[in-house]
Amino acid sequence: MKRILACVLTAVLAVAGGGASAAETFPSRSVTVVVPFAPGGPTDSAGRIVARGLERVVGQTVVVENVGGAGSTLGAGRVAGSTPDGYTLLLATSSALVIAPHLYRNLRYDTFKSFTPIGMITEAPFILLVNKDAPYKTLAELIAWGKANPGKLNYATPGVGTVQHLSLERIFGATGLTGAHVPFKGSAPTLTALMAGEVDVVIETPNGALPMIQGERLRPLAVTGAKRLPALPDLPTLAETGVNVEARSWFALLAPAGTPAPALTRLQAALQDALKDEDTVKAMRAAGFEPEPLGPAALEALVAREYDGFARVIKEKNISLGAPG
């Protein structure tokens, strides 16, 4: 009996001791990064590379959990509702933070009130892609073709209300093109559909697009950033072709609001370190991302700016969920 009691006491003390030390050194157990998209997409790749980088810096396992669906609002909602202890983080993209609030009712989070920024990971422009056998070889030719065949173009996106959807709406609006929106579940099937010639236009981040361009499966027409891509120096930007639209995707790491300051500071520093880590940078470049670390303050400003920008687009184009196409 005494021995049993001793065992129980030791166990209780061990648990209590573990709890105490957890508060002192963050993190004391594995950290979960929620990627609000299905595995295999660009967000997932970036999330896994950064998770691995963070793992090396903080010395704890960093698990990637994919919680996809509803334009990434499910994953964001999951993190917003989690205990703000720094052990559950969100790999956010513009979808959840600056687009969804204008489209979804009853969101389980508020962009500005539910999250605390940790830092920007990377940002990248999109590449506008068409089928390799398409009759148009430049953006100007695509626009001419589209105007000669009004309403004939089909553009595929990873879902209603995604950055790709809204950006394509803007590009179509600015060029006077018309067509039908074909939503898919994630970006991988949009590339298959473009390759098969089911749809005509897709925009995709460089990491997904470059292998398809190099493999001569898809043809790039333009890049949606402010400057040309180093990997494709001959590919003009939209602005160079006279289309005044800029679109980009970015990945940032956020914690739920109310995360204790020590944990937050540790995570902010850890992210900056991870993004300087040679192996992480190499892995990111191999996957088609350029690390673009930004501190929490700069990230917050960017979010505020894009939040208003997308509000305007959605209002102008009259986009809503629940309406066809």
Binding site: G161, P189, Q214
Partner: protein, 521 residues
């Protein structure tokens, strides 16, 4: 083309037979096999858990191991389906239908033997396709647009509408219920939430594993608990000699295995149509073309052989579009490509030429892995059978425990565990009312793909329904669907003229062989 393929394959064996690659391939298939036997523990979670282990590895070993988990799990997956009516993986749910009755008849051992044979044949065919025809098959795969997939799903639903034993009306009702359950969640086309009743966990839809384990495993447990005496399994304790399928059984399984293999290969090529759809469609087809469809559901060996062969050829074939295009066909494939990206290898159309060691090494490892799995599993059949000798009061509660753990591990949500239990209770009610749950799963698996691609095809054709007839592949599927319904109507018309309507026919068949009604107090 064939000679270069053989040279490349030879080179691949050189890569796969390097000691470290061989070791990791073994680790992969072994872990996969274990994961396969555990109810509910999915391939996705197993791969995600083991992925960090691959970071320090050479990229070939990493891929061989992770791929090994995927196809290794399929070997283990059939075991509990046949012995305990517990579909540990969705593709094997359909194996329960005839596998479990076979166990009750004391032929569980030979059912497992046939399963292993069917698995090996199916997998071998899938691999052979990948070696010789990958570039051609990718072109075929790209021919399957929304209209084609939609027509194929329609055909699958029609073929499968008689999946259940017993009353056809009840079967159709269950299929419709499955379709409704499949609609739960966020609509892809509009982003609107459907049938979620404000429960946020339902935005992702109902997990298929929760549905399969609930309707089959848990419902069966509750039924057994309620029975006066437990299912008599003493007959199931067989000797090694009895595990060898009889010549007669082998002959009965031969064609079904080949048909299953072909259906599995076809399904694997169509993006997003994995082994689960393949096994359901092949079972339904087999029952449909069988001369004695009434035996299905009461222990027909074909009902085990065909879906298992189909699952395995679909699993291997799954790698074709993924590896040749660099675009993942389903979530597991996405995870494997993700592992490559982290290794610094960019999957894409050039993967095959830029990393031949990876591509051909992987294919060679498939053969090696499948042989390892045969060697691992065939001697173990006796051990698995002995599992049935474990007293009822210990076996089922522990299985229930593993179900809960497994479902929880799928996406770390207690909601899914509760959902599984609730579905189990519901499944029990259905069993008592003599509704068979298999068509629910069929509707659930095929329905969402049907709807999604129907609406996508409608957007692309600007609402013009003729697109389904104009496109040749979809027209063929539609013609087959029409022929199927026509034959059914014709048969019904003839039956009503020649013989007096026998309303109690199905009932009689059911009472003859169904233990469900026979055992009840």
């Amino acid at each position: 083309m064939i000679t270069t393929a053989l040279t490349d394959l030879w080179y691949g064996f050189g890569v796969a037979l390097q000691p470290h690659n061989l070791l990791w391939c073994f680790v992969g298939v072994f872990v996969g096999n274990l994961v396969g036997v555990l109810p509910g523990m999915g391939v996705m979670s197993a791969i995600s858990i083991l992925m960090p282990l691959t970071f320090g590895m050479n990229h070939v070993s990493a891929l061989l191991m992770l791929a090994g988990i995927y196809y290794g799990a399929q070997y283990g997956g059939a075991i509990c389906s046949i012995l305990l009516n517990l579909p540990c993986h969705p593709p094997h749910a359909v194996t329960c239908l005839d596998g479990y009755p076979l166990t009750k008849m004391g032929r569980g051992g030979s059912a497992l033997g046939i399963t292993m044979l069917a698995s090996f044949v199916g997998a071998s065919f899938g691999i052979t396709m990948m070696v010789f025809f990958a570039p051609v098959l990718v072109k075929v795969a790209l021919e399957f647009g929304p209209a084609e997939i939609c027509a194929l799903m329609l055909l699958g639903l029609l073929v499968g509408s008689t999946l259940a034993r017993g009353s056809p009306l009840k079967g159709i009702a269950m299929t419709l219920l499955g379709l409704i359950l499949g609609m739960v969640g966020t609509d892809v086309n509009t982003g609107a939430a459907r049938f979620t009743f404000g429960i946020h966990e339902l935005y992702d839809g109902i997990e298929i594993i929760a549905l399969a384990l609930g309707l089959f495993g848990i419902a069966e447990f509750i039924k057994s608990v309620n029975a006066v005496k437990p299912v008599d399994i003493s007959g199931a304790g067989v000797r090694l000699r009895d595990m060898r399928p009889s010549r007669e059984e082998l002959r009965a399984a031969g064609w079904p295995i080949l048909r299953g293999t072909l259906i599995g290969s076809l399904c694997s090529l169509i993006p997003g149509t994995g082994p689960t759809i393949a096994s359901f469609v092949s079972y339904a087809t087999e029952k449909r073309i069988s001369k004695t469809p009434e035996r299905f559901g009461h222990g027909a060996i074909e009902g085990v052989a065909c879906p298992e062969a189909s699952t395995h050829s679909a699993v291997q074939g799954d790698f074709i579009p993924t590896m040749s295009l660099g675009i993942p066909g389903d979530a597991v494939m996405a995870l494997l490509l993700g592992a490559l990206i982290i290794q610094g290898i960019t999957p894409g159309p050039l993967l095959m030429s830029e990393h031949p060691d990876l591509f051909w090494g992987l294919i060679a490892s498939f053969w090696i892995g499948n042989i390892m799995l045969m060697v691992l599993n065939v001697p173990l059949i006796g051990l698995w059978i002995r599992m049935l000798r474990i007293p009822y009061g210990i076996l089922y509660p522990s299985a229930l425990f593993f179900i809960c753990i497994g479902v929880y591990s799928t996406n770390g949500s207690l909601f899914q565990v509760a959902a599984t239990l609730v579905i189990g209770l519901f499944g029990y009610a259905l069993l008592r009312l003599d509704f068979h749950p298999a068509p629910i799963l069929l509707g659930f698996v095929l329905g969402p793909r049907f709807e999604e691609d129907f609406r996508r095809a409608m957007i692309l054709s600007r609402g013009d329904l003729t697109v389904f007839v104009e496109r040749p592949i979809s027209a063929v599927f539609l013609a087959m669907s029409v022929a199927l319904v026509g034959l059914q109507l014709y048969a019904a018309w003839r039956a009503s003229r020649t013989t007096p309507p026998s309303a109690d026919f199905h009932e009689r068949i059911d009472n003859l062989a169904s233990p469900i009604t026979a055992e009840e107090p």
